[in-house]
Symmetry: D3
Subunit: 132 residues, 6 copies
Amino acid sequence: MYSVTVRGHIMIAHSLRGDVFGPAQRLHGATYVVDVEFRRPELDAAGIVVDIGRATDVLEVVLAGLNYRNLDEDQSFAGRNTTTEFLARVIFDRIGSAIKRGDLGPGAGAIESMRVTLGESHIASAAFDGRL
Amino acid sequence: MYSVTVRGHIMIAHSLRGDVFGPAQRLHGATYVVDVEFRRPELDAAGIVVDIGRATDVLEVVLAGLNYRNLDEDQSFAGRNTTTEFLARVIFDRIGSAIKRGDLGPGAGAIESMRVTLGESHIASAAFDGRL
Amino acid sequence: MYSVTVRGHIMIAHSLRGDVFGPAQRLHGATYVVDVEFRRPELDAAGIVVDIGRATDVLEVVLAGLNYRNLDEDQSFAGRNTTTEFLARVIFDRIGSAIKRGDLGPGAGAIESMRVTLGESHIASAAFDGRL
Amino acid sequence: MYSVTVRGHIMIAHSLRGDVFGPAQRLHGATYVVDVEFRRPELDAAGIVVDIGRATDVLEVVLAGLNYRNLDEDQSFAGRNTTTEFLARVIFDRIGSAIKRGDLGPGAGAIESMRVTLGESHIASAAFDGRL
Amino acid sequence: MYSVTVRGHIMIAHSLRGDVFGPAQRLHGATYVVDVEFRRPELDAAGIVVDIGRATDVLEVVLAGLNYRNLDEDQSFAGRNTTTEFLARVIFDRIGSAIKRGDLGPGAGAIESMRVTLGESHIASAAFDGRL
Amino acid sequence: MYSVTVRGHIMIAHSLRGDVFGPAQRLHGATYVVDVEFRRPELDAAGIVVDIGRATDVLEVVLAGLNYRNLDEDQSFAGRNTTTEFLARVIFDRIGSAIKRGDLGPGAGAIESMRVTLGESHIASAAFDGRL
């Protein structure tokens, strides 16, 4: 299996509901360093998994929809805790949709699975890994 | 599959028996930066894989049993080489036991697998990855 | 000159006022990975710059005053932009006060200067470096 | 599953053919930080996945065949784009051959799979992961 | 002293003349991860060292003049070895010129010194540090 | 000022005497990732601060004198605590002596100062910085 991974980041505010979150129930924020790994069993004719420029552009577009925002006010997350692992899935799904729309080019249909990892600090991260 | 990873570290002394270890047969030591990845197929009602605070606490308790010690004098390792890969398994098993005891909370029973990675330097690491 | 550096982190929300900040004028947030470097010309009798355990504890206390908060609501920052460089200075001053109070032990009076660095992402950081 | 990962690096020049590569069609270069993960289900009698010294030596030998070169002039890559993902496979295959030749010792035959990751910058990497 | 650091990278080909360079006399290449630290004694009215967006843009423009090129063919380096330390100075000078031209805004004139660091691998880097 | 930094590492055992060290009074160990920064005001005729190959070799020789050892048994440290900051100075002095002996070549006499940094974990490091 071949893979290519590209990196971006977002800086957001949010709060989390539930005793389990302790002080993170207060409005606070995070920088998430976002790594997206694209995987496919064979390379295309150019010798690549995905056009890395387009992959970076698509990631930037997806991240721009979250960046510099208070996620508590984002209607698409109403009633949900925007935990790191939840956001990993959100980004996974949005990039998956972009691939289906052809934003990564026609060859990107051969991408079988992805892993989206969000580093929230030097000591904690979360990920969602799944098939497309 | 969702995952959450938390980090801690230990600083230990030990020696390794066998010609294959060359100068590492002498008493020496290591800092191991320890990453534990917890995985489960779905998030719980709060939107998390595991309570990250409790996960960090459990990791600290497990690491405290090894930290600032000469592992050559630890009876539980008698007759065994405390290689990086062996220690990854030891930590894996001890965290697995803590999960079974309920130390990570009742929801942690949904954790299906873990990966424990020990970074021993900027150029070498070892891991144990398995189901619970 | 000898130095010792310890690391902690905070996760905060804030907004920044001024056109120069573009989308960062919206309420958003950041993880700051905080490195504090303590410097002195000679080691003490024990062979150290500072008691690293106490230094870490003092850093945690200082960071707890900022962590998991919306800095826009912190009265001590009223009328100020809580930029990364500004916060580096805030943390510098608060640790400096702790040293003067003796929280790092009597020997810490020999610390001549410090550098506080806040990493806000994998591509940007800010610091304040000064004498005590 | 146990694993051990060792790191090396190469500094090469090359160019890539195809509009998808944009400015990377020009002769340019890269540092690739190369991580090789060796995996097997059980440790050997010494308690290791692989002799880490030998693994590092084998990696250095394989990398020396690529290092400080213009890959456009390497006949073994004629007609192929030496993309990061392609080179990950090349290194995978060459280390696999070294294992079969016995260069990592007789016990290395128990290695079932490997992952070769090439970091090309702080924001992009590629990998090949497969069975031996 | 306050500082802000931003990061970019370039991927270049070159060769180095002189026996001291050994195999690096051959045409090869490098990824340079470039950190530019801007320093000034006091913050401006907005509370910043420099507009981080503009600083990143200026860095990108300077790096674009070097990126994806064979530096052996760059007339501005004729007769010079484009070592990592030499390139750190080149980037320092070009950013210094951009500041003087006002590309970082009028307030950037208060920047007193900079440090440009080029990481060429996980084990080697070079820097130029100087006053403006 | 120009600088070049090279990296190596050691894995040692030791214990520290004094209540300030808490559990580190027990025999334990550490991996120290060692960065040595060499500085000089002007480059030599080849365009370098120091021959990076020779610098790496000299660092390896110095580190070999400490690596895979129990520092409590090293007579040259009798009566001293081998703290991270103390070891930074030891390595600084030994590389300084190597420079004076000419091990880095005749041009290395122009090196004016060095910084030796020992990373002991992902959250702590120590350094010695001084003139030659």
